[in-house]
Structures are given as C-alpha cells and as structure tokens.
C-alpha cells in the first residue's frame, strides 16, 4: 500500500516529527503492515501518542463505517475510525447519547478506547472503556480477536487505555445512554478560591450527572484557585420550556492562521479570565444549553490550537487521589503561578473510582488540566517539577495529553504497567506496535 512521508504533530503541535503515513480504505487492509506501527484516528491526542518518528502511522479516518445500531437497546457497533461527531448525528435523533464524551467530538471511536477517555460524568459513570461491550483487536500476528470484559478479558483491559500499543482496534461495540432530547440543564456556582471550589465539587446537594470546574490559573494569593463550578444533566422530557428552539449544531468560525506568540500573554489571559469569571458567576439561575455548546465549546472554533502560535503547546493533565488532592493541587497552582507561563485553559474535575484498564488514567480524586504554550525549555523544567509533586501525592499524568514525561516518572505513576506489559509481551512479543510516546516512555522494552 502507498505511503506518504509527512511532518506530523498531535493536537498540541508539539512535537512535530517525520512519519510514514498509510491510509487504508478497506477493512481487510487494516493490518500490521510494518514494524514500528501506531494507529492514528483524528490526531486529537495532544503530544506524541499518535506519532511515530521514522516509523509508520496507520490512519483510520476512512475505516469509519457504522455496522449496526440497535435503537431499542441503544447498542452501536462501528468501525474504529468513525468520529463521535458522526455518531452523535445518528444517535441523538433516536433518543441516545454517548455514555461518556471527552471535550471534543472530533475524535475517533478507537481513540476513545485507546486513551480510555473520561468526561464530566466520570464521578458517576466511569470512563469510556466501562461502556465498551466489545472490540475487535487486530494483533501483531495479523490474527483478529474479539475482546470484551468476558472474552479475552486480559487483552481487553490492556487495550482499554493501552494507547494503541496492544494492536489495532478495528471495531467497537458501545452501550449508549438514553436521553429525552438534545438539551442540557446547567447550573453555575462561583467560588472565590480553591477551598471553596473543592467544597462546591464535593457538595452532594449541588452534584449532578455532569460536574466540572473552570479555574482561573492566574489568580494568586487569596484568590488562588478561584473558579466556576458547572453542574448539568440531560434535560428530561417536559423540563425544557416550550418555545426553546432546537439546539443548533455546526461550527462557529475557524482560526485560519497561527496567532503570534505575544497575543497569548499573562495580561491578555488574565483580562480574559477576569471577564469570564464575572460573566459566568453572574449566571445564578439554571439555564438550558445544547449538547454542542455544553460538551464541545471549543469545537466551535476550528483549529483553536493555533491560538498558541506555531511553536505549539502542551497540555498538562494530572490526577491526584482524593485524600491528597486539595493540598497537591494548591502546590501545583502555586508552582505554576511562581514560575510558569500563563495557562489559558485550566479545568478541575472530580473523578470517580478507578476502572479496570491497566494503563487507564482516571483514579478516584481530582484532575487538573492546563494548557501551556511552548516557548522555551524552562517550561519543561517546570513540568518536571510538577511531576514530582504529582508523584509525591500518589497521582499520575494523562498519556493522551502528554509530550514530555520521563520513562522513570511514568513507571512511578502507573503501577498497572507490569501487569500490562505481561499481556503486551504475550500478544506483541516483538513490540511491533510502538509510537513516539511508547519509545520515550520506554514502554514495551524492559520492565
């Protein structure tokens, strides 16, 4: 099959590497065609998870057929390259929604499994993998096996969250959740500092199906960690007032070029944050929002990653266990405020119990995500210091966002790695499936 050698980046556009691309159009051509192979769906992982420097990247964008949709039971069976955006168009009119969704719908189904993505409902519903009924895994040998929690369960839980390193995810069968309409009922609560924000997220009176907090990462001193907690649930039939127009979809606008670096600076972001905080805090009454506006606000700006300029950005997302989260996150924010660059996006969220994926990211506690523009190497020194804080508090960094973690830190953060490696070695002894991320973290080679 024809290949194309291209410079490729993740969503954060750091790093950018030369990779050999292959794009099958037929399901039978979805197979391990060479060693040093990684699958790439929509390229929405931020760092180097879907890159393969001097190796091969298998694009699944054309392996995207829907194979079966049971509208009674809410079970969808599709090829792994299909996007969540495509799925939503089909399922929502029939009264179904994704069981879990990340913050963009422009991701592939297979990518959601490989990164075991989570959403704003993790504290209630767990991560994506928990709702996967089964998947077809194409092994290094070329053999195709069906994996589910009951059948080939070891391979299944090594593949859920396995970053594409166990084989090619060909097909996925997913259990959907029923919804009455395309509306979300949303409530906002403002918190003037981190302490208050944690209180809001823990308050059972306030808690809802979805809960997340936006955080002003530039606020310091007394206001450190001020933010807006956002709670929501799918509107019930009859809850939506008559006369509300159908929730519109579609893109707002596109960022056609890279913004110069100086645009996103401490002052401009601080001014934005201040305005955003006041505006959102003013929304005291519950309101209704469409799926797209609620779940995918950034999707309305095509190529929003260009905000950070042509040098790209890294997203630092970590989770800290419940007991140490407050203290740890305060330390992270302080370290960032002391020496870090301004972070445009900062999100805090409570996560529920750890799932069964051996390399899955979520664990019971709190996750913090920060977007940080790449300017100089000081950033990487700062992030190494943040890793120390995370490890000290028993937490971990999300591999789907990562571009710079060390192999040593990875091992300290992911205790399931050894068990995962045993499964990997049993189905891919030659480490055929590898990516720039897996080589950086020395995954699959040695213990």
């Amino acid at each position: 099959m024809a290949v194309s050698i291209t410079k490729l980046g993740g969503w954060g556009r750091y790093p950018v590497q030369s990779c050999e691309l292959e794009r099958p159009e037929r399901y039978r051509d979805l197979r391990p065609s060479s060693a040093r192979l990684i699958v790439r769906g929509q390229g929405r992982s931020y760092g180097d998870a879907a890159l393969n420097e001097n190796g091969r990247v298998l694009l699944t964008e054309r392996i995207n057929r829907l194979l079966d949709f049971d509208m009674e039971q809410g079970v969808l069976h599709a090829e792994a390259g299909v996007t969540l955006a495509d799925l939503l168009e089909i399922i929502v009119p029939h009264g179904w929604f994704l069981p879990v969704t990340p913050g963009t719908k422009f991701v592939s189904l297979g990518g959601c499994v490989a990164a075991d993505v989570h959403g704003k409902n993790h504290h209630r519903d767990g991560s994506f993998g928990k709702h996967v009924l089964g998947l077809e895994l194409i092994l290094a040998s070329g053999e195709r096996i069906w994996c589910s929690p009951a059948e080939n369960s070891e391979q299944f839980w090594a593949t859920v969250g396995g970053m594409g390193l166990t084989g090619i995810i060909g097909e996925v069968q997913l259990k959907l959740q029923p919804v009455a309409n395309a509306w979300m009922s949303v409530r906002h609560r403002a918190a003037s500092n981190l302490e208050r924000l944690f209180e809001l997220l823990q308050d059972p009176q306030l808690d809802d199906h979805y809960a997340v907090a936006w955080l002003d990462s530039l606020a310091t001193g007394k206001g450190l960690g001020r933010g807006i907690a956002m709670f929501a649930h799918h509107a019930e039939a009859g809850e939506v007032p008559a006369g509300l127009l159908p929730a519109g979809a579609g893109r707002g606008w596109d960022l056609p070029f890279d913004l110069p670096r100086w645009v996103m600076n401490r002052q401009s972001i601080s001014a934005f944050n201040d305005r955003y905080y006041r505006r959102q805090a003013a929304k005291r009454e519950p309101f209704f929002s469409g799926h797209d506006a609620y779940f995918y606000p950034l999707d309305s700006i095509g190529h929003w990653n260009r905000l950070y300029g042509k040098h790209g950005f890294v997203q630092y997302q970590c989770v800290l266990p419940e007991a140490s989260a407050h203290d740890g996150i305060a330390q992270l924010l302080e370290a960032l405020a002391r020496s870090g660059p301004a972070s445009f996006l900062a999100v805090l969220k409570r996560l529920g119990a750890e799932g069964s994926g051996l390399l899955s990211f979520p664990l019971a506690g709190y996750t913090l995500a920060l977007d940080l523009p790449v300017r100089d190497h000081e950033l990487f020194a700062l992030l190494d210091a943040l890793d120390e804080i995370v490890i000290r508090h028993g937490g971990r960094v999300y591999l789907a966002k990562d571009a710079r973690l060390s192999a040593q830190s990875f091992r300290a953060m992911y205790p399931g790695y050894e068990q995962w490696l045993r499964v990997k070695n049993s189905i891919d002894p030659e480490n055929k499936f590898s990516s720039s991320l897996s080589r950086r973290l020395e995954i699959g080679s040695g213990a």
Binding site: A2, S4, R28, R65
Partner: protein, 245 residues
Amino acid sequence: MSEAVLILGATSAIARATAAAFAAQGTALYLAARDEEELGRIAADLRIRYGVAVHHGSFDAEAVDSHAEFFQSVLAAMPRLSGVVLAFGYLGDQQVARDFAVGARIIAVNFTGAVSVLNLCADYFEQARRGFIIGISSVAGDRGRQSNYVYGSAKGALSLYLQGLRNRLYPGGVRVITVKPGFVDTAMTFGLPGLFLVATPQYVGTRIAAAPGRSADVVYLPWFWRYIMLVIQLIPECIFKRMKL
C-alpha cells in the same frame, strides 16, 4: 430525485461518497463490486446513516460473460432502476503496463468491462425511455502522456464510448453523463508526488449525485479541470512530444 441507483465499483472512495450523496437524497442503492465483505460494510453504513434500502452483490468488470446475469439480479432487486454510476477503474502501473499482460488488464477493466455492462444498462433504459448513465472517466483520457498513456487511452476510449452512447440515447430521453475527475484524495493517489488542487471524495461524490439534475453532459471535477485540460489539449503536438508529463 432518483428512485434507485446502481453503483458499479462501489468500494472505491469516490463511489462510496457518491453512494452517500445519493442516499442522502433518499435514493435506494444497489452496490456492486468484487469485494463482498467490504460491500456489506458500506451497505450497512449507508442504511444506518440515511435510512434507505441498500442492496449489494458481487460484480467483476473483467468477467464480461457474467454481466447479463448480474444485471438481471440487479433488476430483480430493484425493478424501478433509474440510474447507473460506473465508478470502477484500474490505474495500474505505467512502468509495468509496458508488459502487455498488465496493459491488457487496464484496458479490460476500464474499457472492455465498462462497454460490456453499459451496453446492458443502455438497452434497459432505452426501452424504459428514462434513466441516466454516469460514467466516471478521467482527465487522463483527454491527452496521451508518457506517464500514464495506457490508462489514459482506456479512459479516453471510455469517454468516446459515452459520447456515442449519449448521442444514441438522446431521443429516448436517457441522460448519459461523462464525469472527468482531476486529482482526488483516494487510495489511487495517496502518497503520490506532484499532485496539486486535490479534491475530496465527498466533494466529487456530491457533484456526481447532483449531475442528473443538471444539464451538463461532460462534467469536470472540480470544474477548473476543464480549463486545465483545454490548455493541455491546445499545446501543439510538436511541442507536447518534447514535454515531460
């Protein structure tokens, strides 16, 4: 709007996008190609996405003896057939095509196979006094170039055949449309150097499905290829033969 359309060579990216564009209009489909497993996947996808009836069956352009029986089974499944899209093609490798066996296959698929199956379609529509035939040819058929003249000549012959068929079927009220795509982002072109102005299969598919509702007999996709090819055709042969194209 068309009631029921047969797509020949339905597993290519352009054919898939064309089928999707017809399905989006509510058209029932019969998908035909060699790879039945792949057809089953595409058919399921179109049924779920667009809620239309989609049949599929095995079809081999080179197996001309099987075409009559094949066409009967299409009519059995879709008695109200209103259109055909011929989307199969075989590019081959020009270097290898100097070997006659390879060149013969390029001709057998792109021309002989096409004539065989379109003759059957033409007779059927002529009798029904309605319908359309869309043949996907290529800009490569507009002028012979050293880089792909075997493929180009087979597609050029197909263009001439479609032109004659159009002339024959015009009194019977049957539309014959020749589609000439330029560079399209498909498996055929993926990774090839020197491509420019590459169109998406979705764009091409949408334009093909819209063609029966429009008046043009020969459709270049995208439209500017008409002028690119005009310029190329205007170059005098004494100069053209010296060019590296």
